[in-house]
Structures are given as structure tokens and as C-alpha cells.
Amino acid sequence: MSQTSISAYFHDVGKHNLLTKAEEVKLAIAIQNGSEAARAKMIQSNLRLAVSIAKKYQNRGCDLEDLIQEANVGLMKAVTRFDHTLGFKFSTYACWWIKQTVRRHITSHSTTIRMPSHAKDKLWKIKGVRKEYEEEFGVLPTMEEVADILGTTVETLRSIESCSGSTVSIDKSIRFKNSSGGSEGRKLADIIPDDEAPDIDAVIDRVKIKEAIREALGNLSSREEKIVRMRFGIVEDDKNHEKFPITTKEIRALKAEAKKR
């Protein structure tokens, strides 16, 4: 649905007048008697309610058009099940059906990883409780308080909240303005830091240290160098005895000798 068509839809919806309570009862009785015209009239007169509820769930990963469509499905369910004898206005009854249908649609379609419906419902409840609590007491409730109000555990709430984050492609383009005023495209992956990458300062320091040690080793006397090598267990090829005074075999023999003592 394009912007023009959705505007036209809003215009059409606005043409239908709202029903009075007496009209609602009259239509409800007719619907119970199987009147399709009464059903259509009841639905059309409450389309505004469906749009109003659907609009509250915008920007949650679903298109407004889809939300309105789902809200209308919920409205139709409410019309079928409405019981006028209980004495409530239709809108009071219908809004719960509409909200449920819209929420279920969002749960199934807004994220790549689907959350169970009951978990998403709990998430809505958490948000609702927080909002009400803040309005009443002026501060946000703690996790323990929310868990207490909802009759669940803190672990469950944490688990639900941790799963509720939205997903985004690592290859998503991110546009930003460059120095010349134009915009450049970069991918999200380009700006996410790699925590496991070696620290460049540490790498530079290590290179510097290695260089310093290399130079210092060159300044050691022959005796010092031999002792450092022996102390650090740096051995060379058994065949090359010229520059190094000890071989692996000799170390093993010396160790065996030391154990005997």
C-alpha cells in the first residue's frame, strides 16, 4: 500500500460514523441472527478503532499497512464473539482482540529470531508495569519489583529481555557525511570493533622490546651469552657445537645426574 493509498484508506474509514451503544446492541442482535449486513456495518463503524490501535504499534519492525490489516482481523474476531448482554461497549471488548492480533503479528514478523508468543506477551507486560509504576511513584521499578508484580522470577524476566533485542545484518550499509559534504557508504561490520584483535600499542611495544633485546644480546660477552642460553634452556642443533656449549642430549644427561645426587 503506497502513501497515497493509505491516505485514501484513512479517508474512507473516516466516512463511517461511530455507533451509539443502542445501535451496537441492535447490530449485535442482528449479527447473532446471522445478518451479514449488520456484521459489515459493525466492522466498518469500528475500522477507526483498529487503525488507532495499529498506529500505536508502529516502528516495531512491521509496516503500518500490515498492522492495520491484522488489526482488522482482530476486529472481525471481536465482532463474531461480542456478547451485548454483558453490558459493555463494543470498543472495550474489541480493543483486546485487536491488540492481541497485532501483537501476535509483530511477534512473528518483526524479528529474525522468533520469540514465543507468551514470552512476547510477558515483555509487553513488563513494559506496561514499568510505565504504570513510574507514573505512580516517579521512579522506575527494580527487576525484583517487576518480577513480584508479574508473579514470576527475575531470571525469567532477564532471559526474556535479553532475547528481545532486534537483529540487524552485519552487512547493513551505514551512511555518514564526509568532510566534503557528500555521503559515503560503509557497512556496519566496518565500524564494529574487534575485541579480540591484538592491541596495536602492545604490538608496537613488543616489537620495540624485541629490538632492544636483540641489540642487548649482541652486547653480551661470550660467557654471559652461554649462561643465558643454558639458563633459559635455549638449545640448538645437536650437530652444531661451535657456537653453543650445550645440547639437548647433554642437558638430559646433566638432569639425570642431578637426580641421582
Binding site: K208, E225, V228, F232, K255
Partner: protein
């Protein structure tokens, strides 16, 4: 050193790397015709490490006495690894 005294950093684990203790080094050097006892072997080793520690302190602008640093077991372990790397890269 009092009985039961434990050093702050412990001893360098040169032997774990396949290195020799000072007595073994002295023995080996004596066999090679360079007369020395285990104390001398240790002193020569620490002197060599001091020569290595000095340029490191200068390079990294570390405000620490190279003499103290050369005795530090952690420093000795680190140097052992780097020196082994250097020797494996090229024969000095």
C-alpha cells in the same frame, strides 16, 4: 631468610623451560674450561639480564631500576620467551 618466608613473586621457572640450574651451569662451564661456581653463574646471568633490562627500561620509559627488574621472576620468564623467539629466528 626466615623460616617459612615466601618471596613476593616466587622463583623464575627456568628449569620448567628446559633450562639448567646455576649448579648445572657452573658444572658445564667448568667442563668447558671456564672456571666458576654456582654463585658466579648466577651473578653472570643477572649481569646479562641487567644488560637486557637497561635498554628495555629506556625504550619503554619505565621508571624502574634495571637491577631490580632483572631479578624479577616475571621479567625473567618473559625475557626467556622473547630470547627463545629471537634465537629461533636467527643465530646471533
Amino acid at each position: 631468610m626466615p623460616k617459612g618466608f615466601k618471596t613476593k613473586n616466587g622463583y623464575a621457572t627456568a628449569v620448567d623451560r628446559g633450562g639448567l640450574n646455576y649448579r648445572q651451569i657452573a658444572e658445564k662451564m667448568n667442563a668447558a674450561g671456564i672456571k666458576m661456581n654456582h654463585s658466579t653463574a648466577r651473578n653472570v646471568f643477572l649481569s646479562a639480564l641487567k644488560k637486557i633490562a637497561t635498554p628495555i627500561c629506556e625504550t619503554l620509559s619505565v621508571d624502574q631500576d634495571p637491577d631490580d627488574l632483572s631479578r624479577n621472576p616475571d621479567f625473567q620468564s618473559s625475557i626467556a620467551q622473547i630470547v627463545a623467539d629471537i634465537y629461533s629466528e636467527q643465530d646471533i
